[in-house]
Subunit: 138 residues, 6 copies
């Protein structure tokens, strides 16, 4: 494992969302999520960082070509999330509260099967410059 290198690629998307658990009464949603629960949505410039860890291919000097990685995440994630309403437009959140934690797991679950099993994947998602999450984590 001595020569494993992590490669990071940063992307972004702009989306609307609100935090809401439809299985809870509205006053409990209001108590739990405060202004994040307001009915007409708000939004964020999400910054998404993929971390892909593996061994260097001696032919290329790459663990993974960040251009290919960028194309992959744009085709399978950004094109579906960018300029959308996560609650209304992205099927994965029709029954899942779009917290940063859950968005990160959804993105991981989309991308994980598309990468070689010899590569590890970790997602970091910035909802704002001050609030961000990482998945998976040890």
């Amino acid at each position: 494992m001595a020569n494993r290198v992590a490669v990071y690629r940063k992307e972004h998307f702009n989306a609307a969302h609100r935090l809401h658990n439809p299985s809870l009464p509205q006053d409990e949603n209001q108590r739990l999520f405060g202004k994040c629960n307001l009915p007409n949505y708000h939004g964020h410039n999400y910054e998404l960082i993929l971390k892909v860890t593996g061994e260097i291919d001696p032919r290329t000097g790459y663990v993974v070509d960040t251009k290919i990685l960028s194309n992959l995440v744009n085709e399978h994630v950004i094109s579906k999330f960018d300029h959308r309403n996560l609650n209304l437009d992205v099927p994965e959140f029709s029954n899942l509260n779009p917290t940063a934690e859950n968005i990160a797991i959804v993105i991981f679950n989309i991308l994980r099967p598309l990468l070689s099993e010899q590569l590890d994947l970790q997602i970091r998602l910035y909802e704002t410059p001050r609030n961000f999450v990482e998945y998976p984590t040890s």
Copy 2:
């Protein structure tokens, strides 16, 4: 005018919006605004920078106390825009397309009457780190 100093204060708010001119047909809206016109809204982490220019008060060494400036913009702008849908929740945009340009002018028009006439005010608004506007400008 030799001792005029500009004081900047940065604030932020998170909001949803869509670009749409209701007086135009929908296909023209789609052509003009592309994915920014999608019906269910998207959103941004807006960064707002106030520039207030004036002479230094010799008692304080301040042109303006940035704490007071921050309170002013939080009371009159941030509390109304943050975690809201600009199109639906902010009356100023009920008939005005919430482009960055128009949002900057609306914020200027809210704050200008609240500041001393001896102070100049300029608004810079970042919709994303790559798209931003400034008003007024010479």
Copy 3:
């Protein structure tokens, strides 16, 4: 452990300090700490990032509410450190050199007992954008 997520929250405080070990002679302090040992203090805009790792609560979609986390760190750390002199005003440093390393450990020791045992805590502290530390670390 499959669904553990790390949640990060960024806060800041501005403080004065100097590096000085009172148990060493002054010329040794000067040799070890250089201009950081100057007698009248200097200061920094400290950026503090909390990393809290745990399982997602299925009711909320949160590992931890960053609002609650922010309130906690403001009440127990920021209110005591911000706009203070770490050497003179913060009892933890009356006999402890306020290096970034030691400040991070002090903050960890304040916050650790206030969080659920099921959550892991890590502190990252930026003294400047170019010098920063992390504790604990494996």
Copy 4:
């Protein structure tokens, strides 16, 4: 004036200060400056940006060599302000409240005589990423 170009150079220094006007009673200082008036000082990572405007020298393609500009500001400003207490260690503030506004003017007055009269100089000083000033300004 068609070919005038502005050249910017960014430097930084770390310093302690407190806001205090010794000609005012202490309760007035406390009211005006709040926690910035606390007696034992606090501090900042100041970011300083010089803007030097002039015509391009056709031999070099430079308005001014940023290396020379950096040396100049390091010799005459940074070496005197960095890791110091502005109130106690910098003679210019022995009778001048070290607000960001006043620090910017002091730096301008130090550097202005050291630059060719054919060059314009403007100072931008960041006390924090959210509070900054500019001098002179029209």
Copy 5:
């Protein structure tokens, strides 16, 4: 002029260059440009910010569509400068030293004729986060 708004759009390109004036002897080049004159080139991540100032179009709420602006700069500037050697690959610099000042003027001269005369254009170019230029400037 009351309703003029400035719209900013940020782009980037990565390029190699060296500073060299072929009409001067080599020892003078070495003296003037130091390590920037080394023969085998070095390089930068250039950040380019366009500022376009004009009146808001009441139909769109835009001064200029930043998407159109981005396409324009990508077609006419980025595609020619990105991943190139400015001295060897960009004809404008075959007899012009590629200082940040000169690169900014070259970009301005490419884009100015492509924009409506009712719009003002200003270029800001970051060679590094600490060295940047602006053209034209008053």
Copy 6:
């Protein structure tokens, strides 16, 4: 291991490079590396972050003095890489493709023997703000 702290130090260098594997035919190089393979080089502002992990020295409160760390990396890495062409001027890349992955490993191999065995070292290298790597990694 309870009191291990990681200390980070950020440095930077500007260099030219191209991606090219001389043991492969040119059309394969072109296919693999695209515009990064263009013959006349391009370049980057590389940001380099050292992470050094160890126990705090109770005399100093430091794991490692970041000033000493900075001097070390400047003497052994920055002075050799900065303002150079990695392919032509840095012997380590005469037979090694200067991808970010390989540059990080080269820097690690230079610095590792210069640090105490009781300290762990990790390299993070930013080729651009959106593409970066880390070595070693678990």
